[in-house]
Amino acid sequence: MEVFLHNLTGIPRVDEAISLMKARNIRGLTRAISIVENYEEGRDALLNDAFQRASEACFTLGFTGAPGVGKSTLVNAVIRHYRRSGKTVGVMAVDPTSPFSGGAVLGDRIRMQEHNPDNGVYIRSLASRKALGGLSEATKYALYLYKAFGFDVIIVETLGVGQDEIDVARYVDVTTVLLVPGYGDTIQMAKAGIMEIADLFVINKSDRPGADLLKKQVQNILYMKAEKERPPVLNTIADQNEGIDDVMEAIAEVRQRKALQGQERHRKRIVEEIRSSVLTRLAGDAEPHLDEMAGKVLTLSMTPIEAAELIIRRIQKGCLEDDEKNSI
């Protein structure tokens, strides 16, 4: 199965993007992601269509970890592995948006450049654009677009995360957490958050001192889990392609293990997606009121808590008015 590139000029409209997607034309997908990212007209129609056609047969993989641990380099090696068996791969790579300028440097492609000329691999760099939790809002929706397009394997690479950005685990089948020697002591391991979401741990840059110690420390905190649920801990040197086969084997095992809880996980994911959509919508609705309310708080005519309450009431009132209009 190849990803087709067809002749086409001009920027496709929403309906064109949908039919291009159906024809498995990469320009349809690429356009669709932009529409979702930019909140362009027709976004909802596009996503509804994608949701209905999204194939749950696509295997989704997540890679997360601190900046510079080698996520992109490992993903590059993983793509290579799947390409050897002819599977098509879609990759979403998220990098941070500057909270100061709103701009971004999207550099994950650099580590995956060997796949640039390969029509069986689609890589898209996404900026986080104000997202919390390590995934951009667009990433969550783009996942449906990728599933509707029907890649064999979909890989989500988060931006470099700290302790609490754990979104990715809710959206993919298997989550890999990357660590590097020097990560921290056993107390860091015991903390909540990112250490809890791993289906498997990869200790990358294992040619550096301390790799064995780190492996033992990670295993140590996992001994409390039942043996069958214990995430494997593996050593890799991703840029030298070392340890990748073991990682792929472990991923396959974890996938089988987790397939049993598939339905429950699917339900949780849907709940999370609805919650996330609602919160994004509300954040957008609140935005126009923020300046005014900040002014009121600063002149001491209101506390921040009261301001928040007032905004919520205004949004509710706006909704009621909309409903009335619609019912007429």
Binding site: L5, H6, N7, L8, T9, G10, I26, R27, T30, R31, I33, S34, E37, N38, Y39, E40, T97, S98, F100, S101, G102, G103, A104, V105, L106, G107, R109, I110, R111, Q113, N116, P117, N119, Y122, I123, R124, S125, A127, R129, R281, G284, E287
Partner: protein, 132 residues
């Protein structure tokens, strides 16, 4: 809902050219200007650049080269884009250029064509013009 259209720029280096400073400077400048800058890395093929540009749905391709090969690179990238059916993507270029190179590039439709010492404002204004 917020309209969040951001200018997306692909900074591309084709062939055997190690001189990366220009590309890296542009990367951070574009970021500071609120754009989304994607970098291919060095030693790319024209086909790789064309694929990356289409995959990333960028508004502009910015070619950087310091080996005096920009006309050859631009021609090859344009040809690869055409194979993908993309004939309307703006391409700008910068690096080491002769006056003759600039003429050749402009005939191909490649704009900008900035040499060393070009003020950043000139480049930014040009990108904003061609991107929309």
């Amino acid at each position: 809902m917020p309209k969040e259209k951001k200018i997306r720029v692909l900074i591309a280096k084709v062939g055997c050219d190690i001189h990366e400073r220009g590309a890296l400077t542009l990367l951070t400048t574009f970021r500071d200007e609120g754009m989304e800058a994607i970098y291919t890395g060095r030693y790319q093929t024209p086909k790789g650049v064309a694929n990356a540009a289409v995959s990333e749905d960028v508004d502009v391709i910015a070619l950087s080269d310091h080996t005096g090969s920009l006309p050859i690179i631009a021609e090859a990238v344009l040809a690869e884009l055409k194979k993908l059916g993309v004939t309307d993507m703006p391409i700008i270029a910068g690096g080491l250029l002769t006056q003759e190179d600039v003429k050749v590039l402009e005939r191909m439709g490649v704009t900008g064509n900035y040499g060393p010492g070009t003020p950043m404002d000139v480049i930014l204004t040009h990108i904003r013009n061609v991107a929309c």
